[in-house]
């Protein structure tokens, strides 16, 4: 809520500073932390190269909180990392781009592949020692790290790995993806999950069921990497009431080759963007 208030003030200040560029539009969004790096990259490219008059303000307060903001009219759009739930009534989900939820361990860990079943057992508290998982080269107690309930990533993990059972009490639920990365980086016995955009920051990314967590393998239809998912944009109502500037941006972000490159560079996988023609 505090973040929301800050954002409101920031908008008010922007509005004061704006008269220089008359006719400018500021689009307000909130939601998924996992989608933040990609969204920010798209925002700045759009403002710089496509339309100077459209500005964006995005608060990464977690996908579920973002949907609440859209329902309450506090945001014009939300980033979301899980599929629609009954509690999302009054909103429209638009498939945006693809993302993979990678399983990560500390570089000291020799493990290179983990199965969904093993992940399930670790996060349900059934396997508690690295010794029970062949190939890790460790025999220490596992420190599983996850997200708290404010994150859409948490819900996706619950659906995709835990069959909607709650994680066991030994899972440390942290408030942000960055804190998960930090925890895995600093603890040799840790295991955690984070989106593609967060990979390679002092963590070792595991294959899941033998499939590597890399952009090439991220696909939902057909499913290749088992923890592939869509990142969604959530709009109020049936989506038709959104401002023109927003629908134009979404169309650009989903279709244009330039946006596709930006998404890829920022750690996502473009799902619908046309490929730029190659000149030999």
């Amino acid at each position: 809520m505090r973040i929301k208030a800050l954002a409101t003030w920031a908008v008010a200040l922007l509005a004061l500073a704006a008269p220089a560029s008359a006719g400018a539009v500021t689009l307000i969004g909130s939601g998924s932390v996992a989608a933040q790096p990609v969204l920010q990259a798209l925002f700045s490219t759009y403002t710089k190269k496509i339309n100077h008059k459209v500005h964006f303000l995005y608060t990464a307060n977690g996908g579920n909180a973002g949907v609440k903001d859209v329902q309450g009219g506090k945001s014009q759009f939300a980033g979301q990392a899980r599929t629609p739930l009954p509690s999302d009534a009054g909103t429209t989900y638009v498939k945006f781009y693809l993302d993979g939820l990678c399983m990560d361990v500390n570089p000291h860990n020799k493990l290179s592949n983990i199965s969904i079943q093993q992940t399930h057992d670790i996060y349900r508290g059934l396997i508690t020692n690295w010794g029970s998982i062949g190939g890790s080269g460790l025999d220490t107690t596992i420190d599983p790290v996850g997200r708290d309930t404010n994150g859409g990533t948490y819900n996706f993990f619950l659906q995709a790995v835990l069959n909607n059972e709650l994680p066991s009490s030994n899972v440390n639920a942290l408030t942000a993806d960055g804190l998960v990365v930090n925890a895995v980086k600093q603890d040799p016995s840790a295991i955690g999950y984070a989106g593609l955009a967060w990979q390679g920051r002092g963590m070792k990314t595991l294959k899941v069921n033998g499939v590597p967590c890399v952009p090439k393998k991220i696909s939902v239809e057909p499913l290749k990497y088992p923890l592939s998912r869509y990142i969604w944009l959530v709009l109020p109502g049936d989506g038709s009431s959104s401002p023109k500037a927003l629908t134009k941006f979404i169309d650009w972000a989903r279709r244009s080759p330039l946006a596709g490159e930006v998404i890829l560079k920022a750690g996502g996988v473009p799902a619908f963007n046309k490929k730029r023609k190659r000149h030999h």
Binding site: T141, D148, T149, L166, D187, S189
Partner: protein, 332 residues
């Protein structure tokens, strides 16, 4: 001319403009405060009403209960679930606040005695601004320090593998712990105490100290028996402020205390201080997104009501203690 002027506008009103304006402002603030208290209690009432005194008791997993409460709020009002037993959260708050305040009082007392009575002039001139600065550092900075330095240190160097495996599957001893929370909270509240304690020590009448010294009592004994004793009301005031800040601290504790509503058990031996827990205030922070569900909303407001009530109780205790000690003189 001048007299007419005065009569025309009335000396009374123009004289009292300031106090009436300020009075109105104060009344508004008091009214807002009352409105706040009433709102919190009204919102919290369903949760207390459904649980009774068991709200404060132990039983079941707080995590499961919160989840059930939240999910029931998505259905219709007839099936709302309110069952909630907050003991692990309350116990965690008591341990962390109690531990931090106990250590901080001890450290702050001797630090302020040193700063006021024994430190050389140049050192005092350096220490005082530093202490005041430390007292105003935002808590999230301490939280970062905890996550990046203290937590990994405890997890990787203090906790042993046999300790970890002894509680495997129940909780993780990965550094997010009672110890980390108490240490950082102590560092956070001690400067506040030092700052108020030293104000109190400075306001002790010099004549009393000089009198004692003139009788041949040595410096330490004079400081301890006259200075510290006289400044006791200030120390109570400082402690009250620090306790209030500690009870309400949410962001830093959410980052380092561990996120599981687990009640650390002193019977577990040394492991006890490495066990994770979650106090009341961070529980609200971690569950803000559940506010949309009416029963969860009520439960979180009930936690807020308990925090509000504890803060009020601490203030009241401080006031009573200060009254009792007023005869000793010096206040901050």
């Amino acid at each position: 001319m001048q007299g007419e002027h005065l009569e025309e506008y009335g000396p009374k009103w123009s004289d009292q403009r300031a106090e009436r304006l300020l009075g109105a402002l104060v009344c508004t603030v008091v009214a807002l405060l009352l409105a706040l208290i009433v709102t919190v209690i009204v919102r919290a009432w369903p949760s207390f009403a459904h649980n009774g005194l068991a709200w404060f008791g132990a039983g079941g997993s707080v995590e499961d209960q919160l989840n059930q409460v939240y999910l029931s709020g998505l259905g219709d009002a007839a099936h709302y679930v309110y069952t909630f037993h907050a003991w692990p959260l309350i116990w965690s708050t008591m341990l962390i606040v109690g531990g931090a305040v106990a250590i901080a009082v001890f450290c702050a007392l001797f630090t302020s005695v040193f700063i006021v009575e024994f430190a050389p002039e140049w050192m005092r001139n350096v220490l005082q601004p530093v202490v005041r600065f430390l007292a105003s550092v935002p808590s999230v900075i301490y939280g970062l320090l905890g996550v990046l330095v203290v937590v990994p240190f405890i997890g990787n160097h203090l906790v042993t593998e046999s300790q970890k495996s002894s509680v495997a599957g129940v909780i993780s001893l990965s550094g997010y712990s009672l110890l980390a929370a108490v240490l950082i909270l102590t560092v956070m509240i001690a400067p506040l105490m030092v700052s108020i304690f030293s104000d109190g020590l400075r306001s002790v009448r010099p004549g009393w100290l000089e009198g004692s010294l003139a009788l041949g009592v040595n410096r330490w004994r004079t400081t301890w028996k006259i200075g510290v004793r006289t400044a006791r009301p200030a120390m109570v005031a400082g402690t009250v402020l620090a306790v209030a800040r500690a009870i309400g601290e949410a962001v830093m504790l959410a980052m380092v205390s561990g996120s599981i509503a687990f009640a650390p058990n002193p019977a577990d031996g040394l492991i006890f201080v490495y066990e994770p827990s979650r106090p009341l205030a961070p529980t609200i922070v971690k569950n803000v997104e559940a506010l949309g569900s009416p029963p969860a909303n009520s439960t979180l407001f009930a936690i807020a009501a308990v925090l509000l009530f504890s803060a009020a109780l601490v203030s009241l205790t401080g006031w009573v203690a200060r009254r009792a000690m007023r005869k000793y003189g010096a206040t901050a």
